[in-house]
């Protein structure tokens, strides 16, 4: 009689790889197929729930096959299926059957960003406190301060019009709408506000500025990144808008 440990490892190997050595169960290890089918359905359902637009764009057979391959390539490590799927976008980039849908990985990235933002910690928005904190920073210190973004903020950049693709494939839309892939890319801020997740289109300067702040760059370095991306970047307007909306959640001056 193998130890519990060996028995579980043997069972797991047989589940993951049907060709692996036999697993001593009754009435026979062919019954493990029931577990394989259940697990496959669980993963397909879980990833369809977080990536409904990817599923709609590709259709159920394609989506299911892609999920099966994804699970084999990125086996889940947590018992919490809600946090499984963040690597789907990266997987789709190299998934040969999806090569004709070059926008698909970015759509997956956007859907995961939305799901992830929905799961972010609740933090009260305090725009007045942020403005007050900024107003007492000495002018010569200003380039050195850090602006902390709200924990729900995610930035998604794509060379494809993924926001239009995403909107055209919501459940209440027919899907008949035409989106021209060459109409241009988009830079998006995904964040949660009082009404749920908000998607906001950014200018190149705003995106570079927020991306730098998100990486922990100082305000001075972030302004440099923004101006490099967009010479007309308007810091005052960006600060006002993103403090009022709650994107910038805190000021750190040290």
């Amino acid at each position: 009689m193998p130890s519990l440990r060996d028995l579980q490892l043997q069972f797991a190997a047989a589940l993951a790889e049907p060709a692996s050595p036999r697993c001593a169960v009754t009435p026979g290890d062919d019954r493990l197929a029931i577990y394989r089918v259940n697990a496959r359905a669980n993963y397909r359902n879980a990833l369809a729930a977080t990536h409904p637009v990817v599923k709609r764009l590709t259709g159920e057979p394609f989506f299911n096959a892609a999920v099966d391959e994804f699970v084999a390539a990125h086996p889940p490590v947590s018992g919490d299926l809600n946090i499984y799927g963040g690597h789907l976008a990266g997987f789709l980039e190299h998934y040969a059957p999806a090569a004709k849908l070059p926008y698909l990985p970015d759509v997956a990235r956007l859907e995961w960003a939305i799901d992830d933002a929905n799961r972010a910690t609740d933090v009260p928005r305090v725009p007045d406190a942020v403005l007050a904190a900024l107003s007492i920073v000495a002018p010569e210190r200003m380039p050195n301060v850090l602006l902390v973004l709200d924990v729900s903020c995610r930035l998604v950049a794509s060379e494809f019009p993924i926001l239009r693709i995403w909107r055209a494939n919501q459940p209440d839309r027919s899907g008949a709408e035409r989106v021209e892939l060459d109409e241009g890319g988009i830079l998006l801020l995904v964040r949660r506000d009082a009404d749920g997740v908000a998607l906001e289109s950014l200018s190149a300067g705003e995106h570079a500025w927020l991306a730098a702040l998100a990486r922990g760059s100082t305000l001075g370095a972030a302004i440099g990144a923004a101006l490099a991306a967009e010479s007309a970047f308007d810091l005052g307007a960006a600060l006002r808008a993103h403090i009022a909306a709650g994107t910038v959640a805190a000021v750190v001056d040290r």
């Binding site: 579980q8 797991a12 889940p76 018992g79 499984y84 972010a120």
Partner: protein
């Protein structure tokens, strides 16, 4: 938030995402709700906010599907920590997990995998339950699972294993009557013998769900109405053990909420009549 009132010994339905909005809008006359713990592990967001609103109006039970109590991998302390934070947040009346394992060697299968009914597995899972109860600072209930295979060299029956877990750890039992029927059919034992081996005072909840028949195999899909044979077994279970909080579970091909409410009404009638017959 003060601790949830205890679950009444009445029939309720498991609350799943597609019905949350409707439940918040209509406040159905149900005695309590149960949700899957992991779906509320985030520290914020709309799902958790909705659960807090539901908890303000109904007694609540948290039912975990991913703790992997029986695994020989180290206990996932992060997972336990998230459950503990959720417990602090919603103060549920009951917390339950499955008497199974879900992964090993760092790989999760996100499924309820069967344990062998050996002394070694009993020692192992009892120690893990005790550890989880210590970390959470409260008692949990554990649920018997459906199994499509069994392991040779069992030292005891499944029912004996379940009963010994409860006696040794002091944990409570969530008796899934459908799973007893599915396993009795798949593994050829008498479901009533199983029920007779369960310590009545440890049972704090019943689960009911539908199965699919695939040839001679019964598959616990949670995707169909409760079968007539399971209603009958439930009636005999209530007559022997007594009425307990009872949950209708439906997780695949989830129907309209009214369908679940109708199933709960049937369970409620059985809770009342079987108890009267036994009394």
């Amino acid at each position: 938030m003060s601790r949830s009132p205890s679950l009444p010994a009445a029939a309720a339905v498991g609350l799943r995402a597609p019905h949350v909005r409707e439940v918040l809008a209509t406040r159905p006359a149900l005695p309590w709700f149960e949700v899957h713990s992991e779906n509320y592990f985030a520290d914020g967001g709309p799902a958790l906010a909705a659960l807090v609103r539901i908890r303000a109006e109904y007694p609540l039970s948290l039912h975990g599907v991913g703790m992997s109590l029986g695994s020989t991998d180290p206990l996932d302390r992060d997972h336990v920590g998230k459950l503990k934070r959720l417990i602090a947040r919603v103060e549920p009346a009951q917390v339950s997990e499955h008497l199974c394992w879900s992964g090993v060697g760092g790989r999760s299968f996100n499924d309820l995998l069967p344990l062998p009914y050996t002394e070694e597995a009993l020692d192992h899972v009892c120690a893990r339950i005790a550890r989880v109860q210590d970390l959470l600072g409260r008692e949990i209930a554990v649920e018997n699972v459906s199994a499509y295979v069994a392991f040779p060299d069992a030292a005891m029956t499944e029912a004996q294993f379940v009963a010994r877990v409860a006696r040794r750890t002091g944990c409570k039992l969530l008796l899934d009557v459908n799973n007893v029927h599915v396993n009795a059919s798949n593994h050829g034992f008498d479901a009533d013998d199983y029920i007779a081996a369960i310590p009545c005072d440890a049972v704090t909840e019943y689960h009911l769900a539908g199965f699919d028949a695939k040839g001679a195999q019964l598959i616990d899909t949670h995707g169909a109405p409760v079968a007539p044979e399971v209603w009958a077994l439930f009636m005999r279970t209530v007559a022997r053990i007594g009425p307990r909080p009872t949950l209708i579970e439906w997780d695949t091909d989830i129907p309209a909420f009214a369908v679940l409410e109708a199933e709960a009404r049937t369970a409620q009638r059985i809770l009342e009549t079987a108890h009267a017959v036994a009394a």
